[in-house]
Symmetry: C2
Subunit: 426 residues, 2 copies
């Protein structure tokens, strides 16, 4: 009973070659594009509709704290940890299974150096000391008396997407390529409020932040950023932070690489210079072709990729599809995302889901009439500063062949005639 | 080592009587208001800082799907179900424990008539029939090919807050008074797209929506609303719907009472007239003092309340606090929330957390210098249509003493000298 729809779409709706349709097409009343996924119903079929088992018996009772359906049990983080030190590794957000911009807290990516500490909030404190007039210590109860603000923003590992540096394109679902990034509503105390209470000395330039994990992870953050928009976050997506995201408190530095967003925050030392910790010298730095190294490359550059369709999906024959994906920039708001269905020769502007927020995931969408022929899909983000996501060759020309961090080049998916999708360098 | 701060705040910062401070005060650089929650640190104390047990051993490994900290085990829904039919009842969102505007999906309120059906999405279908040119049936795979949009909005039970009709003020945490309301990012297919594909006959005026639960819950929705902004939602806060929120699909009618947002949606019948189902005749209607009944009173009116401090909290002595709360309106955006600390004689405008979105929870906040004397706190919301939340006496004058649904009057918390907080009619 399936119908297929390969009828020609009005040419004035076409936005670029390869079947990309104007992003406003679906919003026009009276426009039946014919997705072709529905089945026509006969009156005989209507009369014969049976009742499923779950319609015949009472369902499950109420619960104190709900969980996903058992049918979604494969929508989980993908863990890659050190077998000799299982608390050291990463776990990826399955971005290819999600829609909207919020990452459910249970699926927020993880990066730990020595596992997830089980902190008793009644005993945990935050110490603020160093170049301040009044060193202070805050219990969690005390911190909860301070004014809080909320903001949506992404947190992205500096090493996210680094398979892009590989010689050969990695063939994994997109969440296991770009999913060391997640997006939440964070609520907490602006760090500037605590700094004002302690009284920062004029010679200060940095803050050394340290976590209460067994790695005592520490890193230096610039005082300007600390004063501008850094949060001491206590809540994530409405509830208190999850243990793997820093319970009972963490730093949030909107747009900065995740390693600075110190989890299980226990100490802030105001200092004149950075501490030159392991994670800002041996790691999170990069040797450039000219022999110099990038260090303190905090801001995550504009990035985008198509989540649907993407590797692991299979097209169900020619017809109308919706292309959907994510874009973001550490520099501010996403201004524009363009999509190509012909490998970058022509581009159509995608619709951006409102509200478009700074340093935040932005969902883009565009209708696409696939004619069944091989196609190369790409997306390209531009942020409000005018910065545009580079092609892969341009990124390599600038940063060399031995990059590891901050990979943000345009990504290409090849759609084959049989409906399979693969990652290509094109 | 606690310090207290009862110093006078500059008079030019005062925004209303009772200690309410201008909402912009905390945003001014160089402003140390002195919350008074922090402890001063001596150098002897610094030197003696010990390491907690969780800093000395590796933490827990990565997980596929994360859960809240064990220390937050009391932040759960409060269940009130029929002991003879445990699938019939409600479960409240603990709004008094949350911040921001997102409700974690595990804490979204529940209202079921016959429990939570365990639906296999491979077997579930949506039937669209009645006054249409082409009756259609959609598998979940087919639906997922249609264009989707995302939006943040609240879902609120028409019976939320109805303890407000009681003769005596109910003494419970605010989540168990106003927590049949939750707010999520919903993603799904605009219902208008499916209606266009089926072709609605000109004489149609209503759509009868039915769920696949064992109550076969049904209700009538106006066709205009169905075409305007109704979603067939598949995703909640990024992931697929939770079972208790309609997995694998439900309706979302922004701003309309929750009973119309049919869960486990299995059938949409386009019709000329409403079906006059139980939940739009015997229930969700109200006899007015003039002998007429309110029926099809879909839109949830503007509401607000203070979550912090609120009953169950205890003030820790005089000093500076942040008042925080929630407001929303089914008619559109919240335009203004005012707070009073003197029982309604004077009002100060609270800060609204951006982005302020239509038919969405809106977080408001305001600093408050409590002098330790008894105070009556109130909040009052005004939406973009100019509608203002009424005082309790005005609501009762309009709707009578026997109301049950759509209670949205101003709420008053009495702060006693000992720091305890109670609900009062004042």
């Amino acid at each position: 009973m399936k119908k297929t729809n390969t009828a020609a779409i009005d040419q004035d709706l076409m936005a670029a070659a390869g079947g990309l349709i104007d992003r406003r097409a679906f919003l026009r009343q009276g426009m039946a594009l014919g997705v072709g996924g529905a089945g026509l119903v006969t009156s005989a079929a209507l009369a014969g509709t049976g009742r499923e088992s779950w319609q015949q018996v009472p369902g499950l009772p109420f619960s104190g704290y709900g969980q996903p359906s058992a049918h979604e049990r494969e929508v989980i983080r993908w863990v890659s940890a050190n077998s000799q030190a299982p608390g050291n590794g990463i776990a990826w957000t399955p971005l290819h299974k999600l829609d909207g911009i919020i990452t459910p807290s249970g699926l927020h990516f993880e990066r730990h150096h020595n596992g997830v500490p089980q902190i008793d909030p009644e005993r945990h404190t935050l110490l603020l000391h160093g170049l301040v007039k009044r060193p202070l210590t805050f219990s969690m109860d005390a911190l909860l008396r301070y004014p809080r603000v909320s903001r949506y923003c992404f947190v992205e590992c500096g090493g996210n997407s680094n398979a892009g540096w590989n010689e050969e394109p990695i063939q994994t679902p997109v969440g296991y390529f770009h999913g060391l990034a997640s997006c939440s509503e964070w609520s907490g105390v602006p760090l500037v409020v605590l700094l004002e209470e302690a009284g920062v000395e004029p010679e200060a330039g940095w803050i050394i932040a340290e976590g209460a994990d067994a790695a005592a992870m520490n890193v230096s953050i610039p005082l300007d950023k600390a004063r501008e928009d850094t949060l001491v976050a206590l809540y994530q997506n409405g509830e208190r932070l999850r243990p793997e995201n820093g319970y009972p408190l963490r730093l949030i530095l909107p747009g900065f690489e995740a390693v600075l967003n110190v989890k299980w925050l226990s100490r802030l030392q105001v200092a004149r210079e950075p501490v030159m910790a392991r994670n800002e010298t041996a790691k999170y730095t990069e040797l450039l072709p000219n022999g110099k190294a990038r260090q303190f490359s905090f801001v995550m550059e504009a990035k985008s990729f198509i989540t649907e369709p993407s590797p692991g999906y299979r097209m169900r024959g020619p017809g109308l599809y919706q292309i959907s994906g994510l874009a973001w920039s550490g520099r501010g708001r996403i201004k524009r995302v363009e999509v190509s269905a012909d490998g970058g020769s022509s581009w159509a502007e995608a619709a951006l889901q409102e509200p478009v927020l700074p340093q935040c995931f932005t969902r883009f969408r565009l209708p696409w009439q696939w004619d069944g022929s091989p196609r190369i899909l790409k997306s390209r983000a531009t942020d409000e500063t005018g910065y545009q996501q580079p092609e892969r060759a341009a990124l390599i020309a600038e940063r060399g062949r031995h990059g590891y961090f901050h990979y943000n080049a345009i990504v290409s998916w090849a759609v084959a005639s049989d409906g399979s999708i693969s990652h290509v360098y094109a």
